[in-house]
Symmetry: C2
Subunit: 111 residues, 2 copies
């Protein structure tokens, strides 16, 4: 039923790694950036994002550290590790293979 929700499955990590490969970001910012860069398509929920970030950190793909703003507020900035960068490269390849394969089926291609 919820097609879009299921589509996202398996892509969250790659999207997050991709985003963080451009620069370190904190959670809330990631949500807004994903939304902006996808022209409004991706609207990540916090219940999706934060567990995903923790998962990635636990796997050693990103590292986060708290930064205290002048206002005493704190944010947790995440940046890619070397392992994260390597996995990202693999996942980009994987995504290309996958989307190519889907397009072979979805479009009434000649073949």
């Amino acid at each position: 039923m919820n097609y879009k929700r299921e589509l996202l499955k398996g892509n969250t990590d790659a999207l997050l790694l991709s985003l963080l490969s451009s620069q370190p970001m904190y959670g809330y910012q990631i949500i807004k950036e994903l939304r902006k860069r996808s022209h409004g398509y991706f609207k990540f929920r916090e219940g999706t994002l934060y567990p995903a970030l923790h998962r990635l950190e636990k796997s050693g793909l990103i590292v986060g550290n708290w930064e205290r703003l002048p206002s005493e507020k704190e944010r947790r900035y995440y940046k890619l590790t070397e392992a994260g960068r390597r996995l990202l490269e693999e996942q980009v390849v994987e995504w290309q293979g996958f989307s190519t394969a889907v397009n072979l089926i979805m479009q009434p291609a000649s073949s």
Copy 2:
């Protein structure tokens, strides 16, 4: 971890509907066709396919009926319903939107 497996989630139904839009097929054939048309990429397992077919039939998107071969063997051929055809069209559009959005993030686009 299992990236490819998760990628498939949410796409199974659209792939099946797409396949069946070209012609009615039975389960085993679908597995082989998907494999062939995707140049070996999609290797559906029976534990994925049969539940999916039952799901789709229950939702009225496909209908299956048994056909008896001369050899007394039976196969269950599935074909798209009108509702299935409509949903397929929606899902193709959805897939295009999704993959476009992913590519916006995954590729270090200018924008």
